[in-house]
């Protein structure tokens, strides 16, 4: 009021008045800007960057234990080696909170960490097998509802161990162990034997009519690969060491590995796919990016030929014949001849066609395997066959929609139309036959 009095009352010249108005508005603007405060501003050193969360059942019944992999920036991004010479420390801190719901538990995190969690860079969401078997629906809600977690975060189920133990797993290469898992997921296309599923993809597949979702599967293996002694105790998944993610006997470190796929029915985990079955699934759903497939064309063990898939396309064609749903899966794949262990020359049209046929039957095998498994044992339509009917034959779909997975899907006749092509056989042409003495193995 006083200000305006000054402005309008005693304005001597035009310029003076203008100056006063400018001053007044500047002060008012400053007040306006300064009073609301920095509502969502938070310094980076007051944020805890969560890269991965693991969700387990807590010991108390009805409660959740949520574990977080938080980046320790000072150790991960340090421009020069940290002083003290303690050697390379782990770049993350894994901590857990418990709560009645996912949100409830996560809300308590800053009490433990001393920093407000930042979910914008959450890249990996892990559920324990036990939770997944009971259904993920209740937990997915907050992940979809809350704006902070990205939908492009990977969604995986911990196979045979707690989600927390995966987060605590060891990584040889990365300071942030989650990055190894992420790398494995991103590089799935190298061999296409594991499924890389995002939260977004999972939600889509779950909500799609006529489809059940699949998630990535992560397990703990001994450092260096799956065929370590620990793996010998086959079937004994409940081994205490593995369960808790501790170092196995003899001090071997356990590292997380993405392998196979977790198959759901609606939101419940119903089973695991092994590597070949997973590739079968990927063949059907057009997600094979590359693979190495070994065929044995000259039957009789005279030598294996390894083919490298370089391009693969597939398409599901739904048909309804006489009221019965049929499905044709068209797969076309191009391959390079990558390696041959036989001394014979494969450099003839006949041999090349032979190889193509072998490749086609190998692909067919993989697909058959997984289709049979899904139809007979799991009874879940992870391929989205139903979805194609929903899209192509919406009217007939209405009748099938309710009972699709139990009444129709197991009996769908799946035809395979596999088309393969051998593109490149390498510049050396025939094998190094003069020097090759072995007969192949």
């Amino acid at each position: 009021m006083i200000m305006f009095g000054v402005v309008w009352g005693k304005g001597k010249g035009n310029v003076k008045r203008l100056m006063l108005i400018a001053l007044a508005s500047a002060i008012l603007t400053l007040l306006m800007i300064a009073t609301p405060g920095c509502w969502s501003a938070r310094e980076l050193d007051k944020r805890a960057i969560v890269v991965a969360v693991g969700i387990d059942k807590a010991k108390e019944p009805g409660k959740l234990e949520v574990s977080y992999q938080i980046i320790k920036p000072a150790e991960v991004g340090a421009p020069r080696p940290a002083r003290g010479g303690e050697g390379q420390g782990r770049g993350v801190w894994v901590l857990s909170t418990t709560g009645d719901s996912l949100f409830d538990a996560a809300w308590k995190m800053s009490n433990v960490a001393g920093r407000r969690p930042f979910w914008g860079h959450l890249r990996l969401i892990l559920f324990s097998e036990a939770l997944a078997r009971e259904g993920l629906g209740p937990f997915l809600d907050v992940l979809a509802r809350n704006p902070m977690p990205r939908r492009l975060a990977w969604l995986a189920v911990a196979r045979g161990c707690l989600a927390r133990s995966i987060l605590e797993g060891y990584s040889e290469l990365e300071k942030v162990p989650a990055e190894t898992i992420m790398g494995q997921l991103e590089e799935y296309g190298q061999n296409s034997t594991s499924l890389a599923q995002t939260l977004h993809g999972f939600l889509l597949e779950m909500e799609n009519p006529g489809q059940s979702p699949a998630a990535s599967a992560v397990e703990l293996v001994s450092k260096g690969g799956p065929s370590a002694p620990n793996d010998g105790e086959s079937g004994d998944e409940g081994s205490e060491d593995v369960e808790r993610g501790r170092a196995g006997a003899g001090g071997t470190k356990l590292v997380p590995m993405v392998r196979g796929a977790a198959v759901f029915k609606r939101d419940r985990l119903v089973g695991w796919l092994d590597e070949e079955e997973t590739r079968g699934l990927l063949w059907v759903t057009n997600r094979v990016r590359g693979a190495s497939i070994v065929v044995d064309p000259l039957a009789g063990g005279r030598g294996k030929v390894t083919l490298e898939i370089v391009r693969a396309r597939s398409r599901i064609r739904p048909e309804i014949k006489g009221g019965v749903p049929h499905v044709t899966v068209e797969i076309s794949a191009s391959a390079n001849l990558a390696e041959q262990a036989t001394a014979s020359s494969l450099y003839t049209i006949e041999h090349l066609h032979e190889l193509e046929r072998e490749l086609a039957s190998a692909i067919e095998n993989e697909v058959r395997m997984v289709v049979t498994r899904a139809q007979r044992d799991l009874r879940t339509d992870v391929f989205g066959f139903g979805l194609t009917f929903y899209r192509k034959h919406p009217r007939q779909w209405k009748a099938m929609a309710e009972t699709w997975e139990d009444a129709y899907f197991p009996h769908v006749e799946v035809n395979l139309d596999v088309n393969t092509r051998l593109d490149v056989s390498g510049l050396i042409g025939p094998a190094l036959k003069r020097r090759m003495t072995g007969t192949g193995w």
């Binding site: 501003a41 944020r47 920036p73 991004g77 930042f118 902070m148």
Partner: protein
């Protein structure tokens, strides 16, 4: 007959631009003081006007064989060229041959005319009646010649003071291209322009500004190309200046520019005659101010500031690249610190994870918020820059080493500021120096702080708000009737010049938003071609 016609023409012109022609007068409205018929009285009066200064030289002698007529020659030591005076005024007037002739031919009372016609061998010579005019002539280096019994004085142009040589312009040096820069002397500067544009249509019109300073100001344009309305407006605005003295071009700029409160320059300045010539050919009007080695150009548009004169001295591929670089540099100089602050404190999810982790690592243990940190570093840099300007050349490098290297490195290793902030501020500084014109660099600096404050408070939202406000302001500006953001808004085909420097043979027309007259620069067939191949014999 011819003379009458010329005078009439002069009168007409003078009417069109009152005050533009004619001689510099004292304050308008003061009655003229007539030149007296007595030499001594005149000399005294002149000395009286000037307060009897020591550098006023009065030389009196007797004229004519009979030595009856007293003659006085008055000039200011240092302003007038002594050699010219002695060789072309004193020597002929005092020589015996002249005296004999004078006695023989000159009728009494008309000696002045005789002296003018046969005595003084100088190019510029005029007879004046008003003593004030004589004084102002003397003050600009002329020499006054009084002759007894004559009610007029002769003013001979003998200007010859010390001037700086034409040197390479300091602020706008180029690697390839002419290395001449304007100097403080107006006449030299107009010569620099005339030598580039020899067209008879090049108009150089002068007026005097400043009741005390009496500074010569020249308006230069190309008749037939410059928009006559713009020329008229420039004249009108120049005539409106009533300041006591104009000490540099900035005085004139501030007194005639559009949007006087805006930080954006609506009148451009340059110390390169070639840049001015290019502007004149594009239809701009140049204003040269005596005593200032800068020329003003108008009308100007914002995007012209990204077109360096060097663009046209290197091949168009390279020039196009530098044009892009300059645009990016401006964007960086304006927004980089604020973007950094906004993204790291408000929207860290926008950064790739490894980058975020690196920044977070550097931030660990830094005592200030990013915004304060960035602000402090900007402040430190500005201080360094300011210090570098004032510093004697000898210790300049020492200051930059201590300031930039030692201070920066020590601040980082002590953990007081984080390395990314220093990188951002340093890159911003470099980017701001890669903008061609210092005017724009200064604005970028100013707005940088504003945007930094906005983004520290409101994040990206604040940054965008500030950015949009600046744009709205830019769009509201005009320079002598030309919208400041032409040719973007209002958009025209000439906008193709912004992102590319087109080959010279493709520039067949003038840009079209500065002037509308005589648009054709060259025929459309200017692209060089190989001769048509002859048939092999």
């Amino acid at each position: 007959m011819l003379r009458v016609a010329t005078t009439l023409l002069d009168l007409l012109r003078a009417r069109k631009k009152p005050g533009s022609k004619g001689s510099p007068r004292g304050r308008a409205g003061e009655p003229p003081v007539h030149v007296l018929r007595d030499v001594q009285a005149n000399a005294k009066a002149v000395a009286g006007f000037l307060g009897e200064p020591q550098d006023l030289v009065t030389r009196t002698f007797k004229l004519g064989g009979t030595k009856q007529l007293e003659c006085g020659v008055i000039w200011i030591d240092g302003l007038a060229d002594k050699r010219l005076i002695s060789r072309h005024i004193l020597k002929p007037l005092m020589s015996g041959a002249f005296e004999a002739q004078a006695d023989a031919t000159a009728p009494r009372g008309n000696v002045l005319e005789f002296v003018r016609d046969c005595g003084i061998s100088l190019g510029q010579l005029r007879a004046v009646c008003d003593l004030r005019e004589v004084v102002s002539g003397i003050l600009s280096g002329d020499t006054a010649v009084f002759i007894q019994t004559s009610g007029q004085a002769l003013l001979a142009s003998t200007r010859g003071w010390k001037t700086r040589d034409v040197e390479e312009p300091r602020g706008e040096s180029v690697i390839r291209g002419p290395r001449e820069g304007f100097v403080e002397d107006l006449r030299t500067n107009t010569v620099l322009l005339r030598r580039r544009i020899r067209s008879p249509n090049l108009r150089i019109e002068t007026l005097t500004i400043g009741s005390a300073g009496q500074t010569q100001v020249a308006v230069v344009y190309l008749e037939g190309i410059a928009n006559p309305k713009v020329v008229e407006e420039v004249w009108a605005r120049l005539r409106r200046i009533k300041i006591d003295a104009v000490l540099s071009d900035q005085y004139v700029e501030e007194l005639i520019r559009d949007a006087p409160l805006s930080p954006f320059p609506t009148v451009a300045n340059t110390e390169r005659p070639d840049a001015v010539a290019a502007g004149i050919l594009e239809g701009q009007v140049a204003v040269l101010v005596d005593g200032s080695p800068f020329a003003l150009r108008m009308p100007v548009t914002f995007l012209q500031y990204f077109q360096s004169p060097e663009d046209y001295y290197v091949n168009f591929h390279t020039a196009t690249l530098s044009r892009w670089l300059r645009l990016v540099a401006l964007l960086a100089a304006l927004t980089l610190p604020s973007l950094y602050v906004a993204v790291t404190t408000f929207n860290p999810e926008m950064l790739p994870t490894p980058l975020l982790v690196s920044i977070a690592a550097a931030r660990e243990g830094v005592p200030f918020p990013v915004a304060i940190e960035a602000f402090l570093m900007e402040l430190a840099f500005e201080t360094l820059r300011e210090a570098g300007l004032r510093m004697p050349r000898v210790i300049g490098p020492a200051v930059s080493i201590v300031g930039a290297l030692v201070l920066g490195e020590a601040a980082i290793s002590a953990g007081i500021v984080s390395a990314p902030t220093v990188i951002v501020v340093a890159f911003t500084a470099i980017a701001s120096f890669s903008i061609t014109y210092p005017d724009i660099t200064a604005i970028a600096r100013l707005l940088r702080f504003l945007l930094l404050a906005l983004s520290a408070i409101l994040g990206l939202f604040g940054l965008m708000t500030g950015f949009i406000a600046v744009h709205i302001h830019l769009l509201s500006l005009r320079s002598f009737g030309v919208p400041y953001m032409s040719p973007l808004a209002p958009s025209s085909l000439a906008a193709r010049d912004i992102l590319m420097r087109w080959p010279l043979w493709a520039r067949t027309k003038r840009v079209g938003y500065i002037t509308w007259q005589d648009m054709r620069r060259q025929p459309a067939t200017s692209m060089p071609q190989a001769p048509v191949r002859r048939k092999r014999m």
